[in-house]
């Protein structure tokens, strides 16, 4: 592909480092499980090579058209409040990230995952598996239909509860743009107590993880909507791009 990007030596433009405070640290004591799972040696700073500036490419052949509707994967409809979750995938330069894979997973409306290690005493829903995926369109837009996930307790500290959330996994155009994040809901009173949400030091970056109530995308008499835009790592401007 003959793109008008490149450096003087004909190498691909590098990705900027994340803005300080926008990403959590590996060692974050309030989230207890980080303690035995964080590196203790400093990361080795390395140049971005072709290996990191490229990354896996997925296509519409990898998914089914119904994969983005979590309410239609079983015989019956899941229990809970139907929601539309949509938004755009952008990079830090506000450029759309088109045709990229978006994967999500979440608890059911009672706060339970259909997973062998989830022992929370809340009902499973035979009509809800809680997994979806889709591709962004040419403008970076995506859209899921789901049900609003429930909050649930976890054992990080006494009386710990996770705020309602949906896990998002994104690839973007390179190994360096890979991101797994979580979408939260506006006004959730549990956010201020949640170590994962609060692991992001910068308040503006933290707030970016909270979806917005999205009146324009509500479906009358059918579903409320939430908007969640995701911003992946962006590239440095290059002499050719200026």
């Amino acid at each position: 592909m003959n793109k008008k990007v490149g450096t003087k030596r004909g190498e691909l433009p590098r990705y900027r480092s994340y803005h300080p405070g926008t990403q959590p640290e590996y060692n974050y004591p309030p989230y207890a499980s980080t303690q035995k799972r964080c590196p203790t040696q400093p990361l080795v700073v390395a140049p971005q090579t072709l290996s990191e500036l490229t990354g896996p490419v997925f296509g519409y052949d990898d998914i089914k058209p119904t994969d983005n509707d979590l309410t239609r994967q079983h015989k019956g409809e899941p229990i809970g409040e139907r929601i539309v979750v949509s938004g755009r995938v952008l990079d830090e330069n506000a450029k759309a990230v088109p045709h990229t894979l978006v994967e999500i997973w979440q608890a059911n409306s009672s706060g339970r995952y259909p997973h062998r290690t989830d022992q929370h005493d809340a009902p499973l829903d035979p009509n809800f598996a809680g997994a979806g995926r889709t591709m962004t369109d040419a403008e970076g837009r995506y859209r899921f239909i789901s049900i609003r996930p429930g909050e649930y307790p976890w054992r990080n500290h006494y009386n710990a509860w996770r705020p309602a959330h949906i896990h998002f996994s994104l690839f973007g155009p390179a190994f360096l743009t890979r991101m797994v994040t979580q979408m939260y809901f506006p006004g959730d009173p549990l956010l201020e107590y949640d170590p994962m949400y609060n692991s992001v030091a910068d308040e503006k970056a933290r707030v970016r993880l909270i979806s917005a109530f999205d009146w324009e995308n509500t479906v009358p008499e059918w579903a409320l909507a939430y908007r969640f835009d995701i911003v992946l790592r962006g590239r440095d401007a290059t002499p050719l791009e200026r």
């Binding site: 990403q23 799972r37 608890a107 997994a131 360096l176």
Partner: protein, 187 residues
């Protein structure tokens, strides 16, 4: 225009629900040329216990050293169906195993050539953002001139190089803490 990036957040303990559908343990499609290799290892936490709810992803070039990606400018052959992506969840003991072909050499910075390697992303509960590391191959002369491996303190380089096993495969472990702690990169 400069937007704040979204923050990474942990995959949590129930990652399999959303990610298992794309599990890929045979990375090289049938018909991909090159030396077939099987790589196995364990993902170990600070207590030396296997991480049974982790996942690794692999990204690699084909045997010619060509990535299945539009921005790879090299004019080298690329087999149809070769994606170069692997996704392998760890098992109950924290072990993982996958097969692939040994990649060719790809360009490094400033006109250098890199030694054959796989790039690896590591995800798990208890890790708020994934870690990046690399797997290099044993008995590979070019390791000594690899521009990335050169940046690693010599005493720690072995953590990035797979070992031959008695069974004829390769072993490479991810050790999160302590003695022989694996080298992770900040790119």
């Amino acid at each position: 225009m400069s937007l704040y990036a979204s923050a990474n957040q942990t995959v949590g303990p129930y990652l399999h629900i959303g990610l298992d559908w794309l599990t890929t343990r045979d990375i090289a499609a049938r018909g991909a040329k090159g030396e077939r290799v099987a790589i196995e290892g364990r993902l170990l936490d600070g207590d030396g216990a296997g991480v049974n709810d982790g996942l690794i992803e692999i990204w690699q070039a084909n045997s010619h050293g060509k990535y299945a990606h539009a921005e790879d400018p090299q004019t080298k052959p690329l087999e149809r169906g070769f994606r170069g992506f692997g996704r392998i969840p760890t098992d109950d003991k924290g072990a993982f195993r996958f097969t692939t072909i040994k990649p060719g050499r790809v360009p490094g910075p400033g006109g250098t050539l890199q030694a054959p390697h796989l790039v690896v992303a590591v995800f798990m509960r208890g890790m708020l953002r994934h870690l990046a590391t690399r797997i290099y191959f044993p008995d590979e002369q070019s390791n000594t001139e690899d521009p990335v491996l050169k940046l690693v303190p010599p005493a720690r380089r072995a953590t990035l190089i797979a070992k031959n096993t008695a069974k004829g495969g390769l072993e490479w472990n991810i050790i999160l803490q302590g003695k022989n702690e694996t080298v992770f990169f900040d790119f």
